[in-house]
Each structure stands twice: as structure tokens, then as C-alpha cells.
């Protein structure tokens, strides 16, 4: 069955940030220098070609775009300045948009105005909900004067449900496509699943595919930065969740375990995000030389959340009672909720697709790279 070429797809992907990709003349330098491209998982060239030919199903069912750690070597080697690294990033945004049901993601990725309007609009809706909800039981602390604790709790629960439904549907679509394209994965035995799970576990917490060789890295290498953000994020998620679920058991004292975990994770997150912002600002390497609004969006959210988190911690500890601090709580809460609500529609969605892709990759016998990303 021959492939009927459809040129619309590449134009569509281009609008997600791969603005120079038409210059690609398929030389394959990008795949040759890519530290992660090997064997069956060959990219970026093949992924670019699939886009050029309009092979949408093929692209959506493949894992390659999520195996890329955006080191930028391909982009700096490209003889036509086609930005293959940007293309891989655009492909991820496009795929997030395609797996998401509402179309919100595609809209926000493709237009900076839409991204800002959407973010702001959603924030206003959330703030409105929080400010108007007046639950029967209220936590008697002064900090919750403006935004009642139960309101946060209630809205948070609802949002969690919405997120679970929406994200669940997206992830399900992703998984079904992958399995349809590779029915062999369904026939894998328990041992293979175990090995893939172990490899994924190892990869997730060490990111060894991105780790610089011994002595080559620096404190702000992409690997170190990403790892700090990753641990910070998960630590805060754990702290917040336990705070959320067990507040009556744990209380709000600074030395309580959930608070300690939150403080440490928050520091890691702030350090990582600040370093990441600095790297992007400076355009430290080819991987961050071009930034899409969605890159800044995520960094800005994480940074503001971290910053306001520490602000609130200080306010609670030192009993700053001015109304300003209640407004800071509102900001913090709204942004946290928005981040969670949009988790499947923004750059954060990679946190779901990448581990799954890696799992499928390991399950199908994908080798670990012999050399790490620079």
C-alpha cells in the first residue's frame, strides 16, 4: 500500500514551533549525531519525513518524540538550520494537542495570545470559585480569611476529578495507538514487563540517558537542572497531597514531616527552576536557544508557585497577618490548581507521555544509549 502524500500535516506541525523545518532536505546529519537515536528508534530525520509525508497515524503511534531529551546537538549540526530539535519539541506539543480532547491545548500551543488569554481566563474563573464558595465548615485560621480552606479543598477535589477524566482519556488514546501499531507488545511476558519496569524506574529517577559523562557535567547541566525540578516537583506533590488528605492529623507546624518534605522539595524546585530560567535566558546551548511560549509558561508557573509557597510558609510561621498574605494565598492556590488542571494540555504533559513511551521502548527491546547526551 503506497503512501498518499499529504502536505497539510507538516504545515500544522510547523505552527507548533517548528518554524524552520521546511528547510530540511533529509540529509540525516541529525540522526547521525543524536546520542539517543539507534536502531528501530531512529530520529529526528525519520520523524521529520513522516511529518513531511503527512503520516499522522504513524507519528502518533510512535514513541521517538518522547525519547528525545532536547539536548540540541541535532539543531547545532543541521547544515540547513532547519532546527530538528525544535521540530521534535513541536512534535511533542502537536501530539499533546492531538491526544487531548478539548482542543484547548492545540489552541494555546499555537497562539501566544490564546495561551495568555486562556491562562488568565482560567485563573479568573478559579479565583471566582474560590472567593465565592462559602462551605459550612471552615478552618479557623486567619490565613484562610479570604479563601476558606474548605473551598480550596472542595474545588481541588473537583478539579482532581476533571483532570483524572480528561488526562485519563488522553493517556488512554496514546496507549491504544501505541499498542495498535505494535501488537507485539501485548504478547510480552511477565519477565519482559518486569525488566521494562525496572529499566523505566532506573531511568526515571536517574535520567541516565541524559546524564553527562563523569567529569563532563556542571551544576547547571540540563541533566542536573531537570533532576532538581523533577525531585522538587514530586516532593511537593507528595507534601501537598498528604497535607490535603491528612491535615487534621498533621497540623501545620513547621517541624511536621509533610512540612519538612515540602520545604526541602521547594528548595530543590526553586534551585532547579531558577537555573533552568537562567539557561533559557542566556540561550546556554542549542537545546534552549529557541524557546516556545509553553517553555516559559511552565517555568514561570513553577517559579511563582515555589516563591509564593515560601512566602506563605514565612507568613504562617511568623504570623504575618496583613491582608496581602491572603491575596498571596489566592494567587498560589489559583496557579497550583491551574497547573494541575492543565497538566495534560501543557508542556507538563510530558510527565505522563514520556514515562509511558520509555516503558514501551524498553518493553520492545530498545537499547539504552551507549553515550549520553552532551
Amino acid at each position: 500500500m503506497s503512501i498518499l502524500v499529504d502536505a497539510n500535516l507538516i504545515r500544522e506541525i510547523r505552527s507548533y514551533g517548528a518554524f524552520d523545518i521546511s528547510a530540511c532536505f533529509q540529509c540525516g546529519n541529525c540522526s547521525a549525531v543524536c546520542p539517543l537515536s539507534a536502531g528501530e528508534a531512529s530520529f529526528p530525520r525519520k520523524m521529520i519525513r513522516l511529518g513531511q509525508l503527512g503520516m499522522e497515524d504513524e507519528l502518533l503511534s510512535r514513541q521517538e518524540m518522547w525519547l528525545c531529551y532536547n539536548c540540541g546537538e541535532c539543531t547545532s549540526t543541521c547544515p540547513r538550520q532547519a532546527g530538528p530539535g525544535e521540530y521534535m519539541a513541536a512534535l511533542r506539543r502537536w501530539a499533546v494537542g492531538r491526544f487531548e480532547s478539548t482542543g484547548l491545548s492545540a489552541w494555546m500551543f499555537r497562539s501566544p495570545v490564546a495561551a495568555l488569554a486562556g491562562t488568565l481566563g482560567l485563573a479568573l474563573v478559579l479565583a471566582g470559585l474560590l472567593l465565592t464558595a462559602r462551605p459550612r465548615h471552615d478552618f479557623p485560621d486567619w490565613i484562610f480569611k479570604l479563601v476558606p480552606y474548605d473551598a480550596i479543598h472542595l474545588v481541588g477535589m473537583v478539579l482532581g476529578g476533571v483532570l483524572a477524566l480528561g488526562l485519563g482519556a488522553s493517556v488512554l488514546r496514546f496507549v491504544l495507538r501505541a499498542l495498535k501499531a505494535r501488537p507485539g507488545l501485548l504478547k510480552k511476558g511477565w519477565k519482559e514487563h518486569r525488566a521494562a519496569a525496572l529499566a523505566l524506574h532506573h531511568e526515571l529517577w536517574t535520567m541516565r540517558r541524559q546524564r553527562p559523562e563523569a567529569g563532563q557535567g556542571s551544576w547547571n547541566s540540563p541533566w542536573a537542572v531537570h533532576l532538581a525540578v523533577l525531585f522538587g516537583f514530586f516532593g511537593l506533590l507528595a507534601a501537598t497531597t498528604s497535607d490535603f488528605l491528612f491535615i487534621f492529623l498533621l497540623g501545620t507546624k513547621i517541624y511536621w514531616p509533610a512540612r519538612v518534605l515540602g520545604t526541602v522539595s521547594g528548595l530543590a524546585l526553586m534551585a532547579g527552576v531558577s537555573a533552568a530560567i537562567l539557561r533559557r535566558w542566556r540561550g546556554a546551548d542549542a537545546g534552549v536557544r529557541h524557546s516556545h511560549l509553553s517553555d516559559w509558561w511552565l517555568l514561570a508557573f513553577l517559579w511563582v508557585l515555589g516563591f509564593t509557597g515560601f512566602w506563605l510558609e514565612a507568613a504562617v510561621t511568623f504570623r504575618w497577618t496583613a491582608p496581602l498574605h491572603s491575596w498571596v494565598l489566592l494567587l498560589h492556590t489559583v496557579m497550583a490548581m491551574e497547573l494541575v488542571l492543565l497538566a495534560g494540555s501543557t508542556k507538563l504533559a510530558h510527565a505522563f507521555y514520556r514515562p509511558l513511551s520509555l516503558y514501551f521502548h524498553f518493553l520492545s527491546g530498545g537499547e539504552s544509549p551507549s553515550r549520553p547526551c552532551a
Binding site: 503512501i3 502524500v5 528547510a23 532536505f25 533529509q26
Partner: protein, 613 residues
């Protein structure tokens, strides 16, 4: 044989009675001496009859090496020289000039090749190699003792150039010649000057209107008083030889004859015409050739989507290498049974230039480019490739082992071009094509009459062939005929104009003196031996070099006695047309024909020397 030297001319010690040969064996810095025993060779040759001196030296071609020869001419009265060294192609002229500097006739020289013919091919047997070298040098000496001094031939030249073809190359050549002060006759069979330029749209790499360029050149030509333009005439015959060509042209019912000292051929090319059904050709609304498309493109109004013959073209595909780079067994053969295996060179850039214009003017038309390779080799050409790509053209590289297949529209599907794509890991792809543009190549123009009357050399690709692709790129082997532009090979406009300039410069150089000097190695006639049998005429490849003329019978010893007052046919030689190939000599039984510098008795003596060794 006016001007040709004769034995016994008054040259310093050159009469055959007092022959003193100088033999010089070159080491070629070890190239020869590592294999051939050069000392023994020189020693043995010193004993050979007529040899006055025999020496060996590391580099005979060096200044000190040549100085040895000059010194021997002065001090040892050497009057024939034999150098045993490399190939004559390399240094024969070097040593002839040395003889000239020493006051000897330069043709009293014999070159013996003991490098390519001995040391390089007999590395493993030094003794046998030395014996072979000895035999060859002896043969060289035998020939040298029988050499006659020769003089270069001189022919009077008509100071006028005939340029055949009034396209850009012809006009450029005519302008350059006029600029060099030569009168020019410019022949164009069409009704106006301009040639192929008149049917092109915009041309790369400047994007100018081709017709505007043609107009500019034609105006310049018209402004030159020394260019006579012949329009609409049919050239019926061209003959003659260097310095004395004659072009006969039929203009408006009357014959005109133009004499010219040199010919510049600017007869141009033809577009390849696809065979019936070749890649869908025949359906003019859906398949066009690039020249058709280019010509029409300029006048199409810009818009969202390209419109072609009333249809919206949302998908426009270009197919490269139609009629070029054909493969035997894959493409159907041309009329002569062969395929066009050469690259037409201009179509890649022309196709991309057209693609780029489409992308600029019709943003709603998607362009697809299906190629074997992209060969945008010229300065500025690659920019069209990059530009078309950046504007969104999609590129495909079809596998060379099969021809792309044209699929007509069916049902909801548009017409498509199907092939396996190298860039898509050999997957079979179908490229939609509401309009398919065939980037047709360049083929030689049918100029059979000209080729036959002038005996022009034609290459395997059927284009006119130059004498040497690097060293004599705009001359043919026939003296006085120069090639300007695409009659020689596919060229871009700028290359054709450059070639025209080169051809004009060569023609101007040739006619810079009233007489043209030619190699003296032409056939000599001993008229008294000629029987007028005419066998030589059949062998001669150079029209007009030999012809039968009537001579009074009296005084022709060899012919049988006939009635008084009658005449008999004998051969006459036109030295300017003779190429010295010797084909006539081989068939001349009465030995009336000999080749100057290559007499049969010289060959016999050489063969004898080799046999005796």
C-alpha cells in the same frame, strides 16, 4: 607544395650527405634510468652510423639539458637530434624549439619514447627493457638521418567570420567579434534574432525576462555596423577550409554566398519532447513540459491558487530528469537506438526557479519536487533549492531502478505520481499532481546538413564535439571552426554566453594575421607518378583535401601514352584541408603520395633497424 621544405635546402649542414646525429638519453630522474641502463644505451648509440655524439642526462627537458643539445649543434656540428625520453605529447615541442634556437630546422628532430613504452611497462626485466630501448633509439636515428627540413604551411585568410545561429550565444559571439574589429555575418533561420530566449519566461540566476535580454542583445547587434544579419534564410551548404570558408544561404528565393575565414557555430539545442504517454504526457491540461510551463508562468495572474487551462492546481508536481540521465533497459531508446544518458544540467535549477516563483505567487498551491538528485551546480543556483524548500516545497528522491508511474485521477483521488522514495526508506509514495510539470532535458539540434558538409565531429551524446574537453574546449578538430553554446552540450545561458566569448576570442586570434600557419605534416604529391586512379579519393575523410584535376598528357611519364593534345586526370592536394592522416598514402600503389615528415622510406628504415636489433 608551395612553402614546404625540400631536402637539400640551404640549411646549416642539413644536406643528407653530411648527417651528424646527436642522441640524448634522458634518465627522467630515475623514471627511465631505474630500469633502462642509460649509460650502456648511450655508449652503444655512440658507435652507431651517423651518430656524432650520444649522451645521457638526468633531465633533458631542463634548461641545462637543452643547453647540451645547443652546445653540440654549435661545437660538434650536430644537425639531426634524437631525444629518448618521455612521450612526445609531453616534450616534443620543447625539443623542436630548442633546435630552432640552435639555428636548425625544428623538424630535423625525432622523439623516442622510452618511458611509457619501455621503463614503465617493463619494470621487471631490466636487460630486455634496455634491449628494447636500444632498438627504438636505433630506429629513431634511422628516421632522423632521413628527415627533411619542413616549413609550416601558410594559407591566406578571409578577414570575416560567419556566425551560424542568432540566439544568445550567436549574438554574443558576433558582438565580441565585432568588438575585436572583425566583420561578421550572422545567420539566423528564424524571422528574428533571439533564438530560445524568445520562448522562455524569466531566467535564472537574475530573474530577468528572457525576451528583454534577447531584445537587448539584438539592439546591440543592430547598432554594430560591422555585423550583417541574415534573417529567415536557409543555409544550403557550407564548405571550404580554415581561412577560406564559403556559406551559401537561400534568402527570399535568391542564393547568396558569404566568404569567411572562420566559422562560429551557435546552432543551439532542442527541448526533449516526451514520447506519447511518457509520464502522462499528451493530456495538456494535466501534464506540461517545463519549457511550456515556464513560458506561460509569467503571464498567469497571481492569486491564491495557480490556475492552469481553467483548472485549479492545488497540487503541483515537478518531475526531474525527463529525457536526461536515462538508463538503458529502463527508458525506451531514442530514434538512434540509444538513451540520453547525459545530464542536461539546466533543468534542475530551471525547475526550482519555476517552483520558487509558484510558491511566491500562489501560496495556496502545494509544490512537490520529485528528483533523482538535485544538481544545482552553478553559482547562485543552490539558492533556488533552498528557497523552494523554505517556502514549503516537498522534495522526493525517486529510486533509480524504476521509472515513476503516472496515475490518472480516479474517483476522489487526484492524479498522482507513484514511485519508491529513497528519502522515505524506499517506501512507495504517491504524490498528488493536479498538474505535473516534466523537467525535460536538452537534446542536440538536428543539423545533419552542416555536420555532413563540414565533416564535424559528433560525440556519443550526438552533440558537436570539441577537440579537447579541457585544453581546446571551444574548437573542433577541424581548423577554423569554433563552438559557441549549446550545440556542444547542455549549458545555462551564462555558460553559453561565456563559450560564445571564448569561441569569438579564438576566431579573432586565428584571423589576427593575414596568413594562418598550419602543421607541415600534410600529404605530398609526386605528380609524375600519379595514374589518376582515384583510390585515394575514396579513402580520404576530409572533403576537398584531394581532388582530381585535368592535366595535359604531355610530360606525365607514368601514364600510358595517349593521343596528342588530350589531358588526363591527376590528383591535386589542398594542404589546408589535409589532416595528414595518411589514409591515402596506404592505398597509393604507384607511391605518388607521401606524408611530409613520415615518408615510407623512413618507416622502412625504422622497421629495418628494429628487425636488425
Amino acid at each position: 607544395m608551395n612553402g614546404t621544405g625540400r631536402p637539400g635546402d640551404n640549411q646549416l649542414g642539413e644536406s643528407t650527405g653530411d648527417v651528424r646525429v646527436g642522441v640524448y638519453v634522458c634518465h627522467c630522474g630515475g623514471n627511465i634510468s631505474d630500469v633502462v641502463d642509460v649509460k650502456a644505451l648511450a655508449g652503444l648509440m655512440a658507435e652507431y652510423p651517423h651518430v656524432a655524439v650520444a649522451k645521457e642526462y638526468p633531465f633533458m627537458c631542463s634548461d641545462p639539458g637543452q643547453e647540451i643539445i645547443l652546445e653540440d649543434i654549435r661545437a660538434n656540428r650536430v644537425n639531426r637530434v634524437v631525444v629518448a625520453s618521455c612521450s612526445p605529447t609531453l616534450h616534443e615541442t620543447t625539443f623542436r624549439r630548442a633546435l630552432q634556437r640552435g639555428g636548425l630546422n625544428p623538424y630535423l628532430y625525432e622523439h623516442v619514447n622510452i618511458r611509457e613504452q619501455v621503463s614503465w611497462v617493463h619494470k621487471d626485466d631490466h636487460a630486455a627493457a634496455t634491449r628494447k630501448a636500444l632498438a627504438l633509439v636505433r630506429a629513431g636515428v634511422e628516421k632522423a638521418t632521413r628527415l627533411d627540413p619542413l616549413e609550416a604551411l601558410r594559407v591566406k585568410a578571409e578577414r570575416r567570420v560567419a556566425v551560424i545561429g542568432g540566439g544568445p550565444a550567436g549574438m554574443s559571439a558576433a558582438l565580441a567579434l565585432a568588438g575585436a574589429g572583425l566583420p561578421v555575418d550572422l545567420f539566423e533561420k528564424g524571422p528574428a534574432l533571439g533564438g530560445r530566449l524568445l520562448e522562455m519566461g524569466r531566467v535564472f540566476p537574475t530573474g530577468e525576462e528572457a525576451t528583454a535580454l534577447a531584445r537587448r542583445l539584438a539592439e546591440d547587434v543592430a547598432a554594430q555596423g560591422s555585423i550583417r544579419v541574415h534573417l529567415g534564410g536557409e543555409i544550403t551548404r557550407v564548405d571550404g577550409y580554415v581561412g577560406n570558408f564559403e556559406v551559401r544561404v537561400e534568402e527570399g528565393g535568391s542564393q547568396a554566398r558569404v566568404k569567411a575565414g572562420a566559422l562560429v557555430l551557435a546552432t543551439g539545442f532542442d527541448h526533449y519532447l516526451p514520447g506519447a504517454g511518457e509520464f502522462g504526457s499528451g493530456d495538456a491540461a494535466r501534464v506540461a513540459t517545463l519549457p511550456e510551463f515556464q513560458k506561460a508562468l509569467g503571464s498567469l495572474p497571481a492569486g491564491k491558487v495557480l490556475r492552469w487551462r481553467g483548472r485549479e492546481i492545488r497540487h503541483l508536481a515537478f518531475l526531474h530528469c525527463v529525457g536526461s540521465r536515462q538508463a538503458e533497459g529502463l527508458n525506451p531508446p531514442q530514434a538512434d537506438g540509444k538513451v540520453n544518458d547525459y545530464c542536461s544540467r539546466v533543468c534542475c535549477t530551471a525547475a526550482l526557479h519555476a517552483a520558487s516563483q509558484v510558491l511566491d505567487r500562489f501560496p495556496g498551491t502545494q509544490v512537490y519536487d520529485c528528483h533523482k538528485d538535485i544538481r544545482t551546480y552553478g553559482r547562485g543556483h543552490e539558492a533556488y533549492y533552498e528557497d523552494a524548500a523554505k517556502k514549503g516545497a516537498l522534495f522526493f528522491r525517486y529510486a533509480e531502478d524504476a521509472l515513476p508511474e503516472y496515475l490518472p485521477a480516479s474517483g476522489l483521488l487526484p492524479a498522482r505520481l507513484k514511485f519508491r522514495d529513497v528519502l522515505t526508506w524506499m517506501e512507495e509514495v504517491e504524490v498528488p499532481a493536479d498538474l505535473l510539470v516534466l523537467a525535460t532535458g536538452v537534446v542536440p539540434r538536428a543539423i545533419k546538413g552542416l555536420v555532413e558538409s563540414l565533416k564535424l565531429p559528433v560525440g556519443a551524446d550526438r552533440f558537436l564535439q570539441e577537440a579537447h574537453p579541457k585544453l581546446r574546449p571551444v574548437e573542433v578538430a577541424n581548423n577554423g571552426i569554433f563552438l559557441a553554446g549549446t550545440c556542444q552540450a547542455p549549458m545555462t545561458l551564462d555558460e553559453a554566453c561565456a563559450a560564445a566569448g571564448a569561441a569569438a576570442a579564438k576566431a579573432a586570434q586565428l584571423l589576427s594575421q593575414a596568413e594562418i600557419s598550419l602543421d607541415p605534416f600534410v600529404v605530398e604529391l609526386k605528380a609524375e607518378r600519379c595514374t589518376g586512379c582515384g583510390k585515394c579519393l575514396e579513402e580520404c575523410s576530409y572533403s576537398g583535401a584531394l581532388k582530381l584535376v585535368d592535366r595535359p598528357l604531355a610530360g606525365l611519364g607514368a601514364t600510358p601514352p595517349g593521343p596528342e593534345g588530350l589531358s588526363a586526370a591527376v590528383i591535386a592536394v589542398n594542404e589546408a584541408l589535409c589532416k595528414g592522416c595518411g589514409a591515402c598514402v596506404a592505398v597509393c600503389e604507384p607511391r605518388a603520395l607521401e606524408l611530409a615528415g613520415w615518408h615510407l622510406d623512413q618507416f622502412e628504415a625504422m622497421a629495418g633497424a628494429i628487425a636488425a636489433s
